[in-house]
């Protein structure tokens, strides 16, 4: 098993790109793409190997890849392992990396630095997902923060420097909480190791857990976009260039949720038991609030940004349900939302904004005729986002709902409301961007979805859309990237067991360990 090579190839790719002359832009892109594809290939290979390896009587579900002492004086190990929880996320990262590079094919400004930063970020993300040592996880986690700043601040758009700085400071303050929690758990356990599997076997004293758990959980949840610490997410997503938005919403927010699970829930069972109700309600607020705010956005990208906050609420809600269905749903939702967010940001940022140079819903319209491919892509992504059966979003969210119902029916009802609002804003976006043929000057009133507004006006101007938008057609890399992501949505939607088969046993192992 060489899945650790995902980290190394990404770093080697980044280093290689640094050495290439800055003029040979195509070569740089190809090296980046090749690196991404190799990483994805390694991830997929690991998927098949892991599924062949895991049997019902496998002891703990962890396949250890590397475990050598790193800094013995500190008790830090270079310990990487995969299990059914992080493997879907590793594969997700591979897909987002490849498609992100495809959607950044048109980056003409300093592509060398762009792809170098991009691949460094990818390497950090792979590392976080695989690290089983708390110190190592923290190293990779912080390593992934800095490249985001440069990617957004250099290649971004709307208020890019503000958005980049906000994102980085939020992440860093979140990781400051995590830092404190790491030091406390290390000394309180007295095991002299940062190995999370060891630490999980010897939980620390209950009274310490009660105040450390929220530090660790919230510290990571900042990056997962948990309400009320979510405000970096919309500004960051909007400011970021397309590939970075895809990566931010698709993978980086999952880093946070994964950290909540691995470093928060696994190490502090008593703290989790004590805090799970407030956390569930916060997650619910995030679901409804994110969806409601998305509904009233005038900026297309902000809408998708807030929808990420809403969808990540499902992940956090699913995690704290502490039952197999809910937690499996949460893990699957991480994968599913990663793909959906990647797809939607690709449509908004690359297919539409790069061509029309506006993201205002009121200014867009009639794009279905000009960019039919973008329309189809967004409709499919949107359908998955609103939890339409047949797409991955449905499988994931329905499980979270069932799990939440088990915890409290009211949570399920609330989350259901969130889904209904999601339907409203996705339909509104589809209508305004792709089908509305007349400029909307009137702002949509909050709470009342106004899809259908403007009906009867546009029919007379059949070709208005073509006249208004004189834009280049969708390029091949874009189509390729979109098709990859769309097929994933459908495959997981129709045949979820390819993921759930490895997620569920590991969730069961985790829950057994809790009791």
């Amino acid at each position: 098993m060489h899945v650790d090579w995902t980290i190394y190839t990404s770093l080697i790719g980044a280093g290689l790109i640094m050495l290439l002359p800055r003029e040979s832009k195509t070569l740089i892109r190809l090296v980046a793409l090749l690196t991404g594809v190799i990483g994805l290939g390694i991830g997929l290979d690991a998927y098949f190997a892991y599924n062949a390896w895991i049997t019902p009587d496998t002891k703990d579900g962890f396949w250890h890849i590397a475990n050598t002492p790193w800094i013995p004086l500190l008790g830090a190990h270079y310990h990487l392992a995969i299990d059914g929880i992080n493997l879907p996320l590793i594969i997700l990262n591979g897909f987002i990396c490849v498609t992100g590079i495809l959607f950044s094919w048109n980056i003409d400004k300093r592509p060398k630095e762009f792809f170098a930063f991009f691949l460094t970020l990818i390497a950090g993300v792979y590392g976080v997902f695989m690290a089983m040592d708390l110190f190592l996880l923290f190293v990779f986690y912080e390593l992934a923060i800095i490249p985001k700043y440069f990617i957004i601040a250099i290649w971004g758009s709307t208020r890019k420097e503000y958005g980049a700085m906000k994102l980085v400071l939020y992440s860093f303050i979140g990781s400051a909480f995590v830092f404190i929690a790491i030091l406390v758990v290390f000394f309180a356990s007295g095991q002299g190791t940062f190995d999370m599997l060891e630490l999980a076997k010897h939980p620390i004293a209950r009274d310490v857990q009660l105040w450390v758990f929220p530090l660790a959980f919230v510290g990571f949840a900042v990056l997962a976009g948990m309400w009320p610490f979510h405000t970096w997410a919309p500004t960051g997503h909007v400011a970021a260039p397309t590939a970075a938005s895809m990566l931010l919403a698709g993978v980086v927010m999952k880093l946070g949720a994964y950290g909540c699970f691995r470093a928060g829930m696994m190490l502090f069972p008593d703290g989790l038991e004590y805090w799970r109700w407030p956390l569930a309600w916060l997650a619910l607020v995030g679901i409804i609030y994110g969806a409601a705010v998305a509904l009233v956005q005038k900026d297309f990208k902000y809408m998708i940004g807030y929808s990420s906050v809403s969808h990540m609420g499902f992940v956090l809600l699913g995690l704290v349900t502490l039952n197999v269905v809910g937690m499996s749903g949460a893990i699957l939702q991480m994968f599913s939302h990663g793909i959906i967010a990647g797809l939607l940001f690709a449509v908004v940022g690359r297919m539409i904004y790069d061509r029309t140079h506006t993201r205002q819903l009121d200014e867009l319209g009639g794009l279905a005729k000009v960019l039919p491919f973008a329309c189809v892509t967004f409709v499919i992504g949107g359908a998955a986002s609103m939890g339409m059966p047949g797409f991955s979003g449905f499988v994931a969210e329905i499980q979270v709902l069932i799990g939440a119902f088990d915890m409290s029916p009211w949570l399920a009802v609330g989350a259901g409301v969130g889904i209904i609002i999601t339907v409203a804003y996705i339909l509104k976006a589809i209508h305004k961007v792709f089908f509305a043929e007349e400029e909307h000057t009137q702002a949509a009133p909050a709470g009342a979805p106004d899809h259908g507004h403007g009906h009867g006006h546009g029919h007379g101007h059949g070709g208005a859309g073509d006249a208004r938008w004189d834009v280049p057609p969708i390029t091949l890399p874009e189509k390729l990237g979109a098709i990859i992501l769309m097929s994933l949505l459908v495959i997981i939607g129709l045949y979820p067991s390819i993921m759930l088969n490895m997620i569920q046993p590991n969730v069961e192992i985790f829950l057994r360990g809790l009791r």
Binding site: L74, L143, F150, A153, I154, F179
Partner: protein, 495 residues
């Protein structure tokens, strides 16, 4: 009286002697042979001589490493592996500072400049290698006076004069404080040897408290912690950049090393307690208060700076605050963490100042605006600056991250049952989150803002290589800290 083997003394001081000879040679050669040469030629040749002398001084140091520990002249000269390591660090830092100066316009008095730098290095070496109060004071003075002179080397620039005067006034007052405090300590203990002072139980004496207070204040000035920091930003800004680098690194290393010794050898038992909820007066409390103030004031004041040297000055004040946390821990791990931190910090900071010195002369100034778009004008040095700055900010996998992590871990581990020092660590962690902001501002100007003048900047190869090695060191100390850490740990255990 025990008899003294003067051969041992000469051997123990061989590095210092080599530097003294080099300094005198530099003076004579510049005044005689190079009298009529051009200034650039003089700078290059005298500077090269200084570098050669420094490298030669490394030879006896490496030979001494691993020898049996010796304490000579009643603690005036202590030769053991720890002091040898720190002497090597000081010599390497001085050599780097001299290398940076080769490319810098140091003014008319080239020979004097390099000779003063070498004399300063001698002071630092003596400081590192002593456990005796009078020698500590004399060595500190030797170092400080050289640094005052060096600060004023921009002779025609009023700022430099003002900075030097300010530095001198503050330094002189702090010396007075230090000497006054030391005199009390001597008066009570009847000895100037740190280990002997430790033998005398003196915590209950009010005179001792006064002495302790004054000693801490004196050192507080030297290492620039709040509220004794006011000289630092002006001195850094006004001094020639290589000198600022030297003040911020070489003298910091030596001062912190000797402060560690004074506190942990001489004043153990007088630390009181800085544990949350059970505060007791003692030096730990003094350090906790000044350290907290330094972290807060240093980081907050750095945010509003436009001059990169001033920014780095405030950042160094903040770093001194972090180091105090490690000193308060006062365990073997704590000492290790302080020593490791100081080495990493000095290397990083010297690199940052080196890049600054190399680029500022060609970019037209040291303000943030002058560094706009530097990643296009000087991509290699900009990349090095990225490494140095991120290391200062404590971003993994660089040395600055690991040293900070280890320092905070040591402090939390001091009282692992009640987490008595966690409050200091929490302040430190959140303040380093604040610090990321201004460090990123520097990088923003270098990487994001477009340059006004996009012309390429070329820098001498030797400088690129030297700074590249420093950056490599910063990376390696972050990724593989174990060897140095284990070494320092074993030596700190025998402190």
């Amino acid at each position: 009286m025990t008899t003294v083997n003067y051969l041992d003394v000469v051997r123990g001081l061989s590095a210092e002697l080599i530097l003294a000879v080099t300094a005198l040679l530099a003076l004579t050669i510049d005044l005689s042979v190079l009298r009529r040469a051009e200034r650039a030629v003089r700078t290059k040749s005298v500077g090269t001589l200084a570098v050669i002398g420094l490298l030669a001084a490394l030879i006896p140091l490496f030979q001494m490493y691993g020898d049996a520990p010796q304490t000579l002249l009643g603690g005036t000269l202590v030769v053991n592996d720890l002091t040898v390591i720190f002497k090597i660090v000081v010599v390497v830092l001085t050599a780097l500072a001299v290398l940076i100066s080769l490319d810098y316009d140091v003014g008319r008095h080239v020979g004097e400049y390099f000779a003063t730098m070498l004399f300063g290095a001698i002071g630092m070496l003596l400081l590192v290698g002593t456990e005796e109060l009078i020698t500590i004071f004399v060595a500190l003075e030797l170092t400080s006076i050289c640094l005052y002179i060096l600060t004023a080397f921009h002779k025609s620039w009023l700022r430099s004069q003002e900075a030097a005067l300010k530095y001198f006034m503050f330094g002189a007052i702090s010396s007075a404080f230090l000497l006054f405090g030391l005199s009390y300590i001597f008066g009570i203990a009847g000895t100037t040897n740190l280990r002997a002072i430790h033998e005398v139980v003196l915590t209950d004496s009010p005179l001792f408290s006064v002495g302790l207070l004054f000693v801490i204040i004196g050192f507080g000035f030297k290492v620039a912690v709040v509220p004794f920091h006011l000289w630092a930003p002006d001195a850094y800004e006004g001094a020639p950049t290589p000198v600022a680098a030297y003040i911020a690194t070489g003298s910091k290393v030596a001062s912190f090393f000797v402060l560690t010794k004074v506190l942990l050898i001489g004043f153990t038992g007088a630390e009181g307690s800085a544990f949350w909820g059970s505060f007791q007066s003692g030096w730990a409390m003094l350090l906790a208060v000044t350290g907290t103030l330094s972290m807060v004031v240093g980081n907050c004041a750095a945010i509003v700076q436009h001059n990169i040297k001033r920014l780095l000055a405030y950042s160094s004040i903040a770093h001194a605050g972090y180091i105090f946390i490690g000193l308060i821990a006062a365990t073997v791990t704590g000492t290790t963490s302080v020593l490791f931190y100081v080495i990493v910090y000095a290397l990083t900071n010297l690199g940052a100042f080196g890049v600054l010195a190399a680029l500022s002369a060609r970019a037209g100034g040291e303000d943030l605006e002058h560094f706009n778009g530097m990643s296009k004008r000087a991509p290699y040095l900009s990349l090095l600056m990225l490494i140095f700055i991120l290391s200062l900010a404590g971003v993994p996998p660089l040395g600055g991250f690991f040293s900070k992590f280890y320092l905070f871990a040591a402090a939390v581990g001091r009282d692992a049952e009640n987490f008595g020092l966690l409050w200091l660590v929490v302040i430190g962690i959140f303040m380093s989150a604040v610090s990321l902001y201004y460090y990123l501002i520097v990088l923003k100007h270098m990487y994001i803002v477009e340059p006004r003048d996009p012309s390429r900047i070329t820098t001498p190869v030797y400088l690129n290589v030297a700074l590249g090695l420093a950056a490599l060191g910063v990376v390696l100390l972050g990724v593989f800290p174990q060897p140095l850490l284990a070494l320092l740990n074993s030596l700190a255990a025998r402190l």
